[in-house]
Symmetry: C2
Subunit: 217 residues, 2 copies
DNA sequence: CTTTTAAATACCCGTTTGGGTAGTAAAAAA
DNA sequence: TTTTTTACTACCCAAACGGGTATTTAAAAG
């Protein structure tokens, strides 16, 4: 149903349990369009060796002996930013899902995922998707709702005012902000009054607080 | 390959384009395990009528005449919290994805999704998943990374100092903070110096910025 | 070509703040 | 017990800030 992929997808695996690791290697090598270019039992093994053959996709466990999968992929993503990383793990707690995604994982699969689904998800990941097991996706959605940034209130700040506000947030005072913006100290005060009017505040700290809380900067 | 579902999945559709709407109705009614219990061209139609037959899943467009799909599902989710809602839309911008999810959508599919995938995704949604088109999932992941709460840096603030910092964030000045904490003006200054030392800042605004940016309050 | 509007600059003055020093009271550690 | 630590209070002074008024310049509107 799909057209043939132009290239074989090079996949590597980091998984400490031998049965699972070798099962995945076999699965991948026996499937058209995939090849396994490395399998490692720990991040300590994977990180130095992976440079000999950088995969398109890395499937990694989280619970590994020594360095955790999350720490590991952070290091690997730093060195090989183009590498797509998929977690394949038994953990489905919010904390680890969050950490893995922030560490650079493009997807998060639970180990009970069927072989066919795993292959499909690898394909989806290399073509720019972010495959997740249904439970994980639901957790991500729920976390997403929790961290919803405050509704953007519009205060109609001019570009100048926004720029100044950003400087205040960075800790500038009127004098240094004036230098930064190459205007006079009094011009800064001029803009400040407008900012205060628009934000309905009466001090620099309040403006900074409002700017940060309402994502104005 | 799957065991038969215990119940037929009752699905309803809100979509203004007649061809698409009728295509979906046909697709659903001609598939085993699904039945279409309603199809509406707008939220204004759907909201009053849907009570006659509450579906398990609602497939909704976003770009509708009159009330937008996002406003609509917010109302529907309020009335029928158990109803699973899937967006089916052409929009894949961050803003709408975010809004839809926060309004109660459990999934977000792009209209180019194949009929087979749509059915699969409906099944996934009713069984507790959160199906998303690959591009959408990737955007969700990226948004997720952006809103990552900054790693908690510990500044060893005492409870008193933290409370004061919170007051500053709320816009208090030394005088009103002193009243609030029932201590003298000079005590506020005393604590401020300690806060500044610990946060390594030299102004109230900087302290407020650091407090907000590092979730100290 | 005026009129209007927006951005920039300036001065004044009272208030707030930042930082220095110094002292007291109460609780915790030695 | 004495010592140390922690919380609190006080005074001083220079710097930063908030808000008032007013002028200049440049662009936009009429």
């Amino acid at each position: 149903m799909e057209t043939v992929k132009s290239n074989i997808i090079k996949t590597a695996i980091v998984e400490d349990m031998r049965d699972i690791r070798e099962g995945l290697v076999t699965l991948i090598n026996f499937t058209d369009g995939f090849t396994c270019t490395g399998s490692y039992r720990s991040m300590e093994d994977a990180i130095p060796q992976i440079k000999h053959s950088i995969p398109d996709v890395l499937l990694s466990d989280i619970g590994l002996p020594g360095m955790s999968g999350i720490e590991g992929i952070q290091i690997l993503k730093e060195k090989y930013p183009q590498m797509t990383i998929l977690m394949l793990t038994v953990y489905d707690d919010d904390e680890r899902i969050f950490d893995a995604i922030c560490a650079g994982a493009s997807g998060y699969l639970l180990k009970r995922t069927s072989p066919a689904k795993i292959l499909e998800n690898i394909r989806e990941a290399v073509s720019g998707g972010a495959p997740m097991s249904p439970e994980v996706a639901m957790r991500v959605i729920k976390l997403f709702r929790e961290v919803r940034p405050p509704e953007k209130v519009e205060y109609d700040l001019t570009p100048h005012e926004t720029r100044l506000l950003k400087l205040l947030v960075e800790g500038h005072n009127y004098t240094t902000a004036a230098e930064e913006l190459k205007v006079s100290y009094n011009t800064i005060k001029f803009h400040m009054r407008h900012i205060y009017d628009k934000l309905q505040v009466h001090s620099k700290s309040e403006a900074v607080a409002k700017a940060l809380q309402n994502r104005l900067v």
